[in-house]
Amino acid sequence: MKLQGVQQTKWMGVLVFALAILVFPFIVTQSFYLTQATFAGIYAIIAIGLGLLMGYAGQISLGQAAFYGIGAYTTSVLTATMGWSPWVSLPIALLFPGLLAFIMGYTMSRLSGYYLAMATLALGIIVHTLLVEWRGVTKGASGFFGIPQLNLFGYTINQGIPYYYLVWFFVIIVLILSLNIVHSRVGRALRSIHDSEIASSSMGVNTSKYKMQIFILSAMFAGLAGWLFAHMSYSISPAAFTFDASILFLAMVVLGGSGSVWGALIGTLLIRMVGIVVHMLGEKFPFITSDFEHVIYGLILMLVVIFLPRGLFPTVADWFDALLTKRSSKKSMLKLAAKR
């Protein structure tokens, strides 16, 4: 059902995307790319949640890695130390980050802007410190090891194609969930908060409730990613859940475009791609080392913000729209132009 003038989910897009996911391992068979794609999926889940938080609740989080880490450590402790089944620990790995977000969100509701960013940064650092110091539970800085693999119907989900499908299965679920939220009345309400919080509250939108819900949801997404990451790896360590990781997630969202769910996904893939391209260049030209990767990575961040301030996806989507509407009417072209 097409409602003109209203943002709606393009189910066609989701379908095409899902198909692409499905056939990817048949086209690209190298294990290297498959691992890359699996990691990309894990990060995409975090980025989509963070994108909701940034683009729709208008909040920045400099500590998303904390929730990711809590998800990963929760399931690691429950399965490796306490012997639970990973499937039973999955809800707990979502619950804990969500709960923390709830408590944090509750106390942080008085903060805004950079002060809120500071609070999330603090959260990230506190959680990281606890992961390092609470050695009795987390086994400290050298990391938690011996995390069991996932089993499904007696079949072990190994790294490689099985894990790739598992991860992307969850990505698609998260994607659909998020698209639904964004294109519902709640999403609309959230977008309105972005433009004028005061006006939306006088429309009866309970802004702090929605912000809180999104914060919790994004934390749970990160927790899910943590769960996936833990059971893929034999060991995890606090080093994966640092400020740098939080920044990386942020960069993914901004690159892709924080105003859209697809943007976060695209941004994630893009960042992975940069890594791969530099890796390949490195094989051709030995002087391109990983140091160079950072230089190029920094460069790309700079260029995107300067030339595509809204991020990659919305800009490209607009070009696309413009192309499509070109023939339909001159009027809409003018409208588009006026937007610029």
């Binding site: 003109q4 309400a189 972005h194």
Partner: protein, 261 residues
């Protein structure tokens, strides 16, 4: 319907409102006027619960509202527009109005996320309803434009339409005609009347005396935070205190004319 009872609001040393009381009866158009800084917007903000009064009570249809958060006042049936426009710039015209209808449907974030197909039917209903509101305000032709591309006059209308879409019982309009020229102001007057005729009570703040005098059933006049008069437009126009504080004598129009050139 609305009862404002000895409201005082202080900002540090500044007393924006002092012991102000007045009532608004159902179905009326009431004007709140007074010189700049009299405390009109402050009063509006307290009625719509943007911030609470320092002392005093505000009762709306029997409910005390002065301490409620803003989003809880809206469901009771109070809606408002803003002196400095607060449209949702990055949304289309119809989406703006649909946010206005936020309260007409329920379902929270998690319920929403899990519903796949059910929502579209509901969406359709909201959409059609929004369209009819737009038609009411003459905005139907530009329903899919981004709000940021509209001219000032249209923006004022959009704010109005959005506030109306919350299906309020009481509508607060803060300088809704500011920046409109004479002709547009007249159109706005007509629209306010039309809205009242649908059964909505209206409270307006406005400096355009032509508009105020022509549509209001009752006027409340503030000056430096204090209520100095209350009555029908006719009474107010003749009230000495109001003339010296606010309206100014009509005679000087001719003076100006003589001096010119």
């Amino acid at each position: 319907m609305l009862q404002v009872d000895s409201i005082t609001k202080r900002f540090g040393g500044v007393v924006a409102n002092s012991e102000v009381s007045f009532t608004v009866e159902e179905g009326q158009i009431v004007g709140l006027i007074g010189p700049n800084g009299a405390g009109k917007s402050t009063m509006f903000n307290m009625i719509s619960s943007v911030f609470p009064p320092t002392t005093g009570t505000i009762t709306f249809q029997g409910t005390r509202i002065e301490k409620l958060p803003a989003y809880q006042v809206a469901p009771l049936g109070i809606s408002r527009t803003f002196q400095n426009l607060q449209v949702f710039k990055n949304m289309t015209v119809i989406e703006n109005v649909m946010v206005g209808q936020h309260m007409q449907t329920k379902t929270n974030l998690f319920g929403m996320a899990s519903l796949l197909l059910g929502i579209t039917r509901k969406e359709r209903k909201v959409y059609d309803q929004a369209m009819s509101y737009l038609a009411f305000f003459g905005l139907q032709d530009i329903f899919d434009q981004k709000a940021s591309s509209l001219s000032l006059g249209k923006l004022r209308l959009l704010e109005f339409a959005r506030a109306f879409a919350t299906e309020p019982k009481l509508l607060l309009l803060d300088e809704i005609a500011a920046g409109l020229n004479h002709k547009e102001t007249q159109e706005m007057s007509a629209l306010i009347n039309k809205v009242r005729d649908t059964g909505v009570t209206v409270l307006v703040v406005e400096h355009d005396m032509d508009l105020v005098m022509s549509i209001c059933d009752k006027l409340v006049v503030l000056d430096q935070g204090v209520k100095i008069a209350e009555g029908t437009p006719k009474e107010i126009q003749e009230n000495e205190a109001v003339i010296t504080a606010y309206l100014g004598a009509d005679i000087d129009e001719e003076e100006v004319e003589e001096e010119a050139i």
